[in-house]
């Protein structure tokens, strides 16, 4: 057994082993203490840090979207609300065969065959445990059709979600705006945290302008999630303290709109392209803001398809264009009362002096002739008849006497050339031309000169001057208030969740100064004459109240030449735009209206009847009698 020269010494080897074992024991003790030291660092010194990390791990905050505020008209009628809508949702990981399920839905007619690819891609891009909507806004019929086949579709279920709905459909869509999916640009200016859990955001109109108030404050609830991010109700005995914070519902908007007046305005416009704006001259309330054609705002809330959107944008009638705020047209003769006021205020016009209208005007120092816009002649006219009968020759002379700078300076306080400041966005300022403006606006030096003939055209609202229907309604209300100026407003109050309405005070603008009461009377009398015996008298027979108005006809110079429009369409679109502005009752004005009918031809026949219907709707009761207005604003 013994090898080599060395003899095995058992006693010595035993001692050697014992020594090593003791050293090993000491080493074990040292290493164990090292471990304990490490654990002390983790569990005592850095305990708070790790505790926080561990809490952040298992608890996720899930937003609870706040109910969007309602939109009501001035009488409490619902214009925009929230509706639970059925939608079909799919949880990817619970669907054994996605293709088969989608094909099955196509067969049931719940989804389009050509939407399947897109849908599949969308579903694949989501987390497998997230519920993905595959069909929004299902009808009761759709729900029933799915329900009987439910067992064939594991992982699919019908969920109820709140969506926006507009009980009046397209009515007042250009005032209300609409809600649509939150877009990339939207994300730039919103607090993303406040919108987590919300799919829709206001676009245009009051839905957009009062987005902050309508949106309310999101609530949240803490939920327990496991490492896969999946929500768990309870895991073993683990029951941490989870907090819930209720959302604060958005405020309801009380609009100045009057549902009935709005309905009448839109119905009166009918199939015409055009706009109607009705204001309260005493505080700027917008009773009606109509722009036709319109569109159905719920298209956007349920997710507009590409083809639907293309149909809206490609439509020659431009239904998405808010003509009331953004349609800029020459004012036509609606400018005459204001030019007359300018003449009176600058003392260059004797209201009682009779001028002779032979249907043509010679600009002094020029060979150029300016004719009556509609041809014909008015014979002997003083100021009142010149307004009532809309005599161009009378105003050609007045404009020449005043000069462009005085006209422009006088027009500006009425709001020409600047936005009215209505409480929704997108308003266009129109254009108030001056020689200075022309110098800047044109490149060629020959074009930068202001010609005397342009002043003549300016005096009757043709040429460079551009106004929007909202601006003209505002002008009408300034005249009605004899210089008072209120910023038009759609929202007059905010109603909180308790039902308390917080009124919003009207905002007064700068009053038009320097016009004497007598001069206001003279011009308003001219406008009364227009309705009583002048250009618009046919539309105001049998009136239960007094009205002052003015027709206007804006010349159309060009039309987009496009081969796909037939000749008849082009011919129709070359017709003049028809204007009518009015206010009533004259003694104590309560409503001021501007009506524009694109290519309506003469203002008196196309626009004035619409204005009358709107004023009737506002001022008369069901029996055709003037409403008792002692209580009204």
């Amino acid at each position: 057994m013994v090898q080599g020269v060395r003899i095995k010494d058992h006693w010595k080897e035993q001692r050697l082993f014992e020594r090593r074992a003791l050293v090993a024991g000491a080493l074990i003790l040292a290493l164990t203490l090292t471990l304990i030291g490490r654990l002390y660092v983790l569990q005592v010194m850095r305990h708070d840090y790790y505790m926080e990390l561990s809490q952040g791990n298992g608890v996720r905050t899930e937003p609870i979207p706040a109910a969007r505020g309602l939109i009501l008209d001035r009488n409490g009628n619902l214009l925009a609300g929230n509706q639970p809508a059925y939608q079909l949702e799919l949880v990817p990981e619970e669907v054994p065969d996605l293709n088969a399920s989608l094909q099955g839905l196509v067969k049931l007619g719940l989804i389009d065959a050509d939407a399947v690819d897109e849908l599949r891609r969308m579903i694949r891009s989501r987390r497998p445990f997230d519920s993905v909507p595959v069909r929004l806004r299902m009808s009761d019929e759709d729900v029933a059709r799915f329900a009987v086949r439910r067992f064939e579709f594991p992982g699919l279920d019908i969920k109820t979600r709140q969506t926006r709905f507009y009980p009046e459909g397209a009515l007042a869509v250009h005032a209300l705006g609409y809600v649509g999916a939150i877009s990339e640009p939207d994300l730039q200016h919103i607090d993303r945290a406040a919108y987590s859990g919300t799919a829709l955001i206001g676009k245009l109109g009051v839905e957009s302008a009062y987005e902050k108030q309508l949106h309310g404050g999101n609530g949240y609830r803490e939920i327990l999630v496991n490492a896969l991010g999946r929500s768990v109700q309870r895991q073993g005995a683990l029951m941490p303290d989870l907090r819930t914070h209720a959302p604060a519902a958005g405020d309801d908007l009380v609009l100045s709109l009057d549902l009935k007046v709005q309905q009448v305005a839109e119905k009166a416009l009918g199939d015409h392209r055009g706009a109607v704006v009705a204001l309260n001259p005493r505080n700027g309330d917008v009773f009606a803001l109509a722009s036709r054609p319109g569109f159905d705002p719920s298209l956007f809330a349920r997710g507009i398809t590409n083809s639907e959107y293309a149909a809206l944008t490609d439509n020659i009638d431009k239904p998405l264009l808010n003509r009331a705020l953004r349609g800029a047209y020459p004012s036509g003769s609606t400018i005459k009362p204001v030019v007359a006021l300018a003449g009176l205020t600058y003392h260059v016009l004797n209201p009682d002096k009779v001028e002779f209208c032979a249907g043509v005007y010679h600009l002094p120092g020029s060979t150029r002739l300016f004719r009556e816009g509609k041809g014909g002649h008015h014979g002997h006219v003083a100021l009142q008849d010149a307004i009532a009968k809309s005599c161009d020759v009378y105003f050609y002379g007045l404009a020449a006497t005043l000069g462009v700078n005085r006209i422009a300076a006088f027009l500006a306080p009425f709001g020409y050339g600047s936005v009215t400041g209505i409480d929704i966005s997108g308003e266009k300022p129109g254009l108030l031309p001056t020689p200075e403006w022309k110098k800047l606006a044109f490149k060629r030096p020959a074009d930068q000169v202001w010609f005397p003939g342009e002043t003549i055209n300016f005096g009757v609202g043709q040429g460079y001057l551009l106004v929007t229907p909202l601006q003209l309604a505002h002008v009408a209300s300034v005249i009605a208030g004899r210089g008072t100026n209120f910023r038009p407003r759609l929202v007059i109050g905010l109603r909180d969740a308790n039902g308390t309405v917080k009124p919003i005070a009207p905002i007064a603008g700068k009053t038009v100064e320097g016009v004497s009461d007598a001069d206001w009377d003279r011009v308003i009398n001219g406008m009364v004459g227009a309705a009583a015996y002048g250009t618009a008298h046919a539309s105001f027979k049998g009136l239960a109240y007094s009205v002052a108005g003015k027709t206007g006809t804006a010349q159309v110079f060009t039309v987009a030449q496009n081969a796909k429009y037939d000749e008849k369409t082009v011919e129709e679109r070359l017709r003049d735009h028809a204007w009518f502005i009015a206010f009533a009752p004259v003694e104590a004005p309560r409503i001021a209206v501007a009506v524009l009918v694109e290519n309506g031809g003469f203002g008196a026949s196309a626009a004035a009847p619409i204005a009358r219907e709107v004023m009737d709707a506002f001022l008369l009761d069901a029996d055709g009698k003037l409403k008792d207005v002692s209580q009204a604003p």
Partner: protein, 378 residues
């Protein structure tokens, strides 16, 4: 040994009766109690760590039972027989490793298991016992401390199976096998200066070895130095386990109340990372208690090894005792972020049949070496 049975209380009679029974079964009572306490502690933790899975507890109990049977059987075996059969066991293990590696090569994938139809087992587990046995067998007749020529032979004996396991590739187990063999040599009195030289050599070898490591292995090492480099990948384990331990504090969050473990943020919570579950739910006190139990087991095992009478028994017993501690230290060190992440289970606590059986078999051998010590050295 003569015991006075007739005198004393009933309790004492029961105790002495138990002692006699244990002696007859060739088992060591103190070690058995230590192991039992660790195992019961393990089952309690495992119930929570497995997400309250009774099935897991039953299977773990079965593993424990199998291990106990292996321990009991091996305790009866005469150490001389164990010693004589060491080379054959070693050879069998090497052959099985070759077979497993061969199957893995053909199957083009990591292969550790040998499926015998009724029973699947890892030959590398056998090697955890066979390599120290082989080393102890080799040194049994030789004068200690071993000479350089013996060391050369031992190096080959250790690195053939270690290399085969590393090829599987299972670096963790390979390292454990090398450590088990190496500890035999250290306990045999390997000169300190040779150990120092080997350590230097190992450092150089490690530097070269880096070049041959798989990417995932490199990643583990890198992650050890900075877990935040790969928060959701390799670093995820270590970050989550430190959160679990750290958030447990001194007293822990309570049994089945550890959010890291219960919500599955902690990966491999019932196997390699169960140490973190204890830390989270029972706190520093729970871990200290566990380490105390382990220290007791190791101390008792070392004591038993010291009591044996021949070289084979001493060296093998010493290696088994120290290897057990190495398992504990590597696992605890890795889970608490002191060591890189290697796949080493926490002995007797981590869920897993192979390691449970191997460990208890090792203790069975140790008990055999101790309880048959009078028969040896002849």
């Amino acid at each position: 040994m003569y015991e006075e049975v007739t005198s004393g209380s009933r309790t004492r009679r029961t105790l002495t009766g138990t002692a006699r029974m244990l002696a007859a079964l060739k088992l060591d009572g103190a070690l058995l109690i230590g192991l039992g306490l660790v195992a019961v502690y393990g089952l309690v933790v495992l119930y929570s760590a497995s997400g309250q899975s009774l099935a897991t507890i039953i299977r773990a109990g079965a593993h424990l039972g199998m291990g106990a049977v292996a321990m009991l059987l091996l305790a009866q075996v005469n150490p001389n027989f164990l010693r004589r059969s060491s080379p054959w066991l070693y050879l069998l293990g090497v052959v099985l490793l070759l077979v497993v590696d061969g199957i893995g090569y053909i199957g083009k994938g990591a292969q550790r298991w040998l499926d015998l139809g009724v029973l699947r087992f890892q030959p590398s587990e056998v090697m955890k016992l066979a390599v120290p046995m082989m080393c102890a067998w080799f040194l049994h007749d030789r004068a200690l401390p071993p000479r350089v020529s013996s060391l050369a032979v031992l190096t080959v004996l250790i690195f053939v199976p270690v290399g085969l396991v590393a090829l599987q590739p299972d670096l963790g187990t390979a390292a454990l096998i090398a450590i088990a063999g190496g500890l035999v040599i250290v306990m045999a009195g390997l000169k300190v200066r040779i150990m120092a030289a080997l350590a230097a050599l190992g450092a150089i070898a490690g530097w070269f070895g880096w070049a041959f490591m798989h990417d995932y292995q490199k990643k583990r090492v890198l992650t050890f130095f900075d877990p935040n480099t790969d928060r959701l990948g390799a670093g995820y384990h270590i970050i989550q386990s430190q959160i679990a331990i750290g958030s447990g504090g001194v007293f822990g969050k309570g049994w089945m109340h550890g959010s890291q473990a219960q919500l599955q943020f902690l990966p491999e919570r019932s196997t390699d990372f169960i140490f973190a579950v204890i830390g989270e739910e029972f706190g520093l006190l729970g871990l200290a208690l566990l380490l105390l139990l382990y220290a007791f087991v190791v101390a008792r095992a070392l004591y038993l090894a010291m009591q044996t009478q021949d070289t084979f028994a001493r060296l093998l017993g010493g290696s088994l005792a120290l290897t057990f501690f190495v398992y504990v230290f590597i696992n605890a060190g890795m889970v608490s972020g002191l060591l890189p992440v290697v796949g080493v289970p926490l002995p007797l606590v981590s869920y897993g049949g192979s390691s449970m059986v191997t460990l208890l078999a090792g203790f069975g051998i140790l008990m055999s070496l101790y309880s048959h010590r009078k028969l040896m050295g002849s």
